[in-house]
Amino acid sequence: MTIDKVTKEFGGLKAVNDVSCTVKEGSIVGLIGPNGSGKTTLFNVISGVYKPTAGTIMLDGKDISYLSAHKKTMMGMARTFQVVKPFNNISVLENVMVGSYLHNHSHHRSEEFAKGILERLEIDQFADEYPKNLPLAIKKKVEIARALATSPKILLLDEVMGGLNPQETDQVLQTIVKLNEEGMTIVVIEHKMRCIMAIAEKVIVLDSGKMIAMDVPEVVAKNPEVIKAYLGDEYHAEDK
């Protein structure tokens, strides 16, 4: 996926300002930046929730900049939302089935596929529960499960580890790595630097909508501009 000079303005505010980068097929890319730096907006533009004000987004050599969200999902792009958006009044299994129906047209096959994903994320015991009755950690996993059910080639994860305890975080990390090993391209927004450092091949740093760094994690972590953006001059950005 290639993002070329993408800008998104709200009124006069440039939430995303002239961002260009490439996400190599089969890689894990981290997207970091302080609060309000435009990470989620960039995700929204990529996934089709918003249309870009300027710039182009290419996926597999096709221009997808102005496609609507569901068409992008059909092309193999899936995402999760930072503020989880579960379908509260249908069961967890049915939540995931909404995703799995994209490529499985029969009820039976889409149910089997969804069950497989629930097992894989180890939340199959919650299949019949309603998401509104579940803790955040499980809701986040349902969010991932739903996205995975659309069999994406590229997965955009928006702070899926926020609010999880260390054990749950590790579990999700392992899942991400495993998915990646199976060939899935993954872009992760994350505040927990430990996680990003552990899995990302490349890290993109946004600050006030602008991209201020793009490199391997070790280099980015020592980049003075990044440290300044995050914490001011005297600290370094390890394990916030």
């Binding site: 609507s68 969200a69 899936a78 939302f81 958006k85 009820h107 996205a147």
Partner: protein, 328 residues
């Protein structure tokens, strides 16, 4: 498959009981009550496809009803086309209107969609009054009482009753199918969260439009049938917004977004309304509406999922409890 068969058997039994009830009651007053109950069950079920499954609360559904009624009646009176065809023409005209409404309003979310549907129903009311030559204006249209199959006018109330039962079977069959199909899942996803739904590959606009079209078709057919039953239509009967709020209320009280809910709603509330009206109508004008309103508000406040929703939740809880006790 076993579950499916089970359900079909249960529905068959339900309709059989209804038909037998119609046969046993040979008093036209009670048959009229049964017909009204089944008619409103049909209309609430049709409303439920858009309001319950897709979560788009329409208060303009009466537009489809009225258009269906006027289409078949005008075709019959002006062109002598049998209502047998006219009924379906009514359904199709309602779909055409739904398509138009869809293009105009389906992008609107929540209350904005609701408001625009009221406006459309009101526009049709005004048009029906104004186009005097075609619609008879405020005086309405009379269908002459000449019983025959071609005229679709019958001597026996039971024949009408069976027509409405047939419509209800068709609606239940279609909704049961939607309920278990991809369309049903997509509609519920749209109702719960449009942004999340589209991120999972759901074409939100198409899903909403599909629901509106199916719902409009059945409402239009229902309107045409109802016109044949009443043998008289006028703008203030078939384009009144209170019809829309009524079918919405039946669905909500019965259990929104379920196959059975609207039917339960109609079978409880419609006879209740008729009873209250007949008991209190002569003494205190409008008192029955007050009591009816209080009952409805209480149901919505106490059990927001509706009567059927609350019941099925209770049964599920009970089953789970039993299961836990067994495994313990």
């Amino acid at each position: 498959m076993k579950l499916l068969n089970n359900k079909i058997i249960r529905w068959a039994a339900f309709f059989l009981v209804l038909i037998i009830a119609g046969l046993v009651v040979d008093n036209n007053y009670y048959l009229d009550i049964l017909i009204t109950v089944v008619f409103y069950a049909c209309m609430a079920s049709a409303w439920n496809i858009v309001g319950g499954y897709a979560g788009q609360v329409s208060v303009g559904h009466v537009a489809f009803l009225g258009l269906g009624a006027y289409t078949s009646t005008i075709l019959f009176l002006k062109l002598n086309i049998t209502p047998l065809i006219g009924i379906f023409a009514g359904g199709i005209m309602a779909m055409v209107l739904a398509l138009l409404i869809g293009f105009l309003t389906i992008r609107l979310r929540g209350p904005f969609f609701t408001l625009s549907t009221i406006a459309i129903a009101e526009i049709l009311l005004v048009l029906a009054v104004r186009f005097h030559g075609l619609t008879g204006g405020s005086e309405g249209l009379n269908i002459p009482y000449r019983p025959s199959v071609y005229n679709f006018v019958f001597k026996s109330y039971f024949t009408y009753y069976m027509m409405f039962i047939l419509l209800m079977i068709a609606i239940v069959a279609v909704i049961s199918y939607i309920n278990k199909s991809r369309t049903g899942f997509y509609l519920r996803a749209v109702r719960e969260d449009e942004t999340a739904a589209s991120s999972l590959g759901v074409d939100v606009l198409r899903s909403k439009l599909t629901a509106l079209l199916v719902s409009a078709f059945f409402t239009g057919v229902g309107g045409a049938l109802y016109a044949q039953y009443l043998l008289f239509i006028d703008p203030h009967t078939v384009f009144t917004v209170s019809f829309s709020t009524k079918v919405a209320a039946l669905s909500i009280v019965g259990g929104i977004g379920t196959v059975i809910g609207p039917i339960v709603g109609s079978f409880i509330l419609t006879p209740l309304e008729i009873f209250l009206r007949s008991q209190l109508g002569g003494t205190y004008q409008g008192l029955y509406l007050l009591i009816y309103g209080v009952i409805m508000v209480s149901v919505i406040l106490i059990i927001p999922k509706g009567i059927y929703g609350a019941l099925s939740d209770a049964i599920k809880r009970r089953r789970k409890q039993v299961k836990n006790e067994l495994s313990a």
